[in-house]
């Protein structure tokens, strides 16, 4: 339990940032909640206030109880939550095409949100246990399983945005835990090759279908690419064998790139040849929303209009035309940031970004000051969770990253997300307090 001397280590700034950002969120949700015609508020802000209060209680509760309880029970928490997520994926009622919610009547819960924390705790615990062996490629297998199993079931719901957030968190936690950079870069490269080549080809076919492009014709026609893959596999197999026969580690420099390239190419070929036309269209619109201004591109275009028309001080609270006249979609959840940027202008948007940075900064500071590896990694993982939410959400609404449905932590409407974030902050506060106990 908490002691008197611990109060000195109370992270007031983190709490202040979180509370201010959450209040900004509540006020914004209120503003975005008016019907354009009836001028009646949809009352979502009330639910957000309740969630905020629950979040505050849980935040301080965890701070007081100490995060070690979570550490000790992390395996059961993880397995239990995973079980609930799986059940949800199959049994929950479909709301707007997604089985992600458990409905309790007056409120509903999205278990996949809590899964984020559970997975981070599990990863931190495992990486602490395997601290010394983490350089070994085989050691990456368990962290991958810990992350990808929930990702798989969340994808089934399907909730692409929520599922996606796990992957970069896994990567940076492995990185922070001391995993071999070569391994991480190799895995990332495979994914990049497999995704970028089909994207590039699709984009090129759409832009200049007539012009000859040697890269594409090499990829699309004849057996050139298969010969290349075969040669690469052969090279990597030979040098992999050499590495053990001659016990020379330097052969890694040859067989690792060759293996990465060959696997990446194989996946790219499979992906490229299995893409349907509608999927290609999706990729194109994903990259360039203006191609489909009334469909998939509509949201981002309207978001950019909202932000751009905000100017320095904005159009005033409750006076954003994009917000109040309904042009901006999803304005309480994923597109809450444009509402702030429209009504409070650059000033308001900057405040939100700085508060978000402040929270992440405080989290990383706690990670540095934590006394054991588990605490450090946990604090680091939770901070990175906030960061990736912010990057993907803000990047999307300002038109820098593709459109993916992810809320902005503390600000977006959504009780489960807010409570999850407050719990994460509670854990951070707890880590900070217990560092010298």
């Amino acid at each position: 339990m908490i002691r008197r001397s611990d109060l000195a280590k109370f992270d007031l700034w983190l709490i202040v940032f979180v509370v201010i950002l959450s209040l900004i969120g509540i006020f914004t949700i209120y503003s975005a909640g008016f019907d354009a015609v009836t001028k009646i508020n949809n009352g979502m802000y009330k639910k957000q206030i309740i969630s905020f209060v629950i979040g505050l209680v849980l935040m301080f509760g965890i701070m007081v109880i100490n995060f070690r309880i979570i550490e000790q029970n992390c395996f059961y928490i993880y397995i239990g939550l995973l079980f609930i997520v799986i059940l949800t994926s199959f049994l929950a009622p479909s709301i707007r095409g997604t089985r992600a919610w458990i409905d309790f009547g007056f409120f509903s819960i999205q278990p996949s949100e809590f899964m984020k924390i559970a997975a981070i705790v599990m990863l931190a615990k495992y990486l602490e246990l395997r601290e010394r062996d983490i350089q070994n490629f085989r050691e990456l297998f368990v962290p991958a399983i810990i992350t990808l199993v929930p990702v798989f079931f969340i994808m089934l719901q399907p909730d692409f945005g929520t599922a996606m957030i796990f992957i970069p968190v896994l990567f940076v936690m492995l990185f922070a835990a001391g995993a071999d950079i070569t391994h991480l870069v190799s895995v990332a490269s495979i994914a990049l090759i497999a995704l970028l080549i089909p994207t590039y080809i699709t984009h090129h076919e759409w832009l200049h279908a007539e012009t000859y492009n040697p890269v594409i014709s090499f990829f699309q026609k004849g057996s050139g690419v298969f010969i290349l893959i075969a040669v690469l596999i052969f090279i990597s197999a030979v040098f992999f064998a050499f590495r053990f026969i001659f016990a020379k580690k330097s052969y890694r420099r040859i067989y690792i790139p060759a293996t990465v390239l060959s696997i990446g190419l194989v996946l790219a070929v499979i992906l490229q040849r299995s893409l349907r036309d509608y999927q290609k269209n999706r990729i194109l619109v994903y990259l360039n929303p203006d191609l489909d201004p009334k469909g998939a591109g509509y949201n981002v275009i309207q978001a950019k209009i909202a932000i751009g028309s905000g100017g320095f001080f904005g159009k005033g609270y409750l006076s954003g035309t994009q917000t109040q006249y309904g042009f901006l979609p999803e304005k309480t959840s994923d597109f809450v940031f444009p509402v702030i940027a429209e009504e409070w202008g650059f000033f308001g948007a900057l405040v939100v970004i700085l508060l978000m940075f402040g929270i992440i900064y405080q989290g990383l500071k706690i990670a540095l000051e934590a006394k054991d590896k588990f605490s450090s990694l946990l604090a680091f993982g939770l901070s990175s969770l906030f960061l990736f939410h912010a990057i993907i959400n803000v990047g999307m609404v300002i038109g820098l990253t593709p459109v993916t449905g992810i809320p902005l932590c503390f600000v977006s409407y959504g009780g489960t997300n807010l409570i999850m974030c407050m719990i994460a902050v509670g854990i951070l506060l707890s880590i900070k307090m217990s560092k010298s106990s």
Binding site: G178, I305, I307, G308, F312, T321, F327, I353, F357, I398
Partner: protein
Amino acid sequence: MSVTSLRGRMLEAFRGKVFLFMSVTGGIFIIFIFQLINLQFIQGSYYTTRARSNIEDNVPVPASRGEVYDRHFDIQSSSNKVIASNRPSFNITTVPAKFENKKQMAEIVQRVAVLLGVDSFELLREMDKANPWQRIVIKEDVSFDIVVSIASHEELYEHIMWEDAPVRVYNYGPVFSHVMGYIGSIDPGEYDKLKDQGYKYYQKIGKNGIEKQYDNFLRGTDGSVKRIVDVHNRTEGEELGDEPVSGNNLVLSLDYELQNVAYTAMQDKMGSVVAVKPSTGEILVLLSKPDFDPNLITSKNASDILASLQSDEQKPFLNRAIQSKYPPASTFKIITSIAALEDEKWQPDWRYFCSGHYILKGLQDRSYQCYKGQSHGNLDMIGAIGMSCNVYFYNLGYKIGPTSIINYAKYLCMDKVTGIDLPGEISGFVPSKQWKMKTFGQGWFDGDTINLAIGQGFTSITPVALCDLVSAIVNKGIVYKPHLVREVRSQDNATVIKRIEREKLFEIPLSARTIETVTSGMRFGVTNGTSARLNYLKVPIAAKTGTVQTRSVVKSDNTQHAWFVGFAPFGGSAEDSVVVVVMVEYGVAGAIAAVPVGEAVFSKMISMGYFNDTQK
């Protein structure tokens, strides 16, 4: 010890990585801030404009089209004859791009089509074809009740809008149909040509007649109202845009009373009536039959009526006064007379004897008849014009030769347009030896000459050109361009923006003797000849009739076109004179079909006091 140092090294490594991570985080946030600066400041005005255009719906407020009055317009009077005016009404419109999807569009369009009684299938096809951001007029001229029922069910009629749209009214319907023309929606071809002149794709444009000729004066400038709308196009508020500027009014030279008399006199005959004041070129009457009611075809939803009129084989849209040409027949004897006298090859009192027949000598003699083969006896030129003796003019034509006649027909501009201020005028035709050789591969025969002399054969002229011919005689050789508009007035009629002055079309030096001989001949036609029916009128009339041999395609029995051309007062001042031309297609012998129409017009003019100075 080694464990601690290893731990220490790992802690160092962890620190480094967190710092790196923090820097990257900071970098990404700085990129975000730069993008915000880009969106909100660098591209700020662009996005502000787009945000404005999201909520603004510019509803055009159509300018009221100028009114059109007859020649007796008086700003003080309350009984002016208003030929064309406007009546307030509404259009129901929509913009296809505003619908969320095709399904929603089809649903709402179907609903509104039922309410308005229009063809939803046709409408959807039009909406598919058009630029999706163009406003489409679903129905024109709907009642206020319909607007109310749409406005009170916004949820049923999302994206369906209404706007003020005055409807053009032609108060005397068919009486002025060819003069006024009509208006209609601008079609894509016209729009491409005219968009630089400020025309909009949704506007109405003059399609024919005065409406087309004076469109620039009549149309005015549309204004706009900015509606503030939400994403469902529901009205949040209104801001006033530009005020519409009404079009200018026109005062015509036409006389409503005379036009009406001519219209009544023509009954259901085919043909045309033109009356002109030679001293100015002002047109008092311009009428073509069959006619149409322009009120029925201005609406977009009247395309059926328009199409059936366009395909009518009697061609009601044809303005027969300026767009049809006929052989001048005996009216051409005026030109033959002028040619003979002006070239001094003949004297007015020189005579020919009419036995009822004329023998043209040649390899084989050919006999040409006078009217019904009756003998006119010994005639001088005045008598020959008055009795319309063919034999006299066969002889005269043969004597003076074709070149002289053709030259005078051309001096009198019978092969040119008159330049009347109406669209679509055609020119008449005067043959020549070269033309005949080129067209038929034959030389000019004497038979051609004597046909030319009496206006049968190759020559053809429009009724309005015949007006000019007689005007030349009445006005001592000066012909002013015939025109229908006297004044362009401001919207409140207080100021005259433009006064149409008389404009000389051509001048031909005619000797006093020529003028006296021809006019006396025409007067003789009224006192003793083919137009004797007009002899009783209190003001002396001079007239000439003509009968065109033709073959009817429509009627089977009557196979002659009838000309009547007259002027009054004979022997009066040129300033007061009025020339009247009547053409009746497929009438029976000029005198019977065309003369009563001329009589009616002259009689009305006399009773209205047109010739009061002469009567005193």
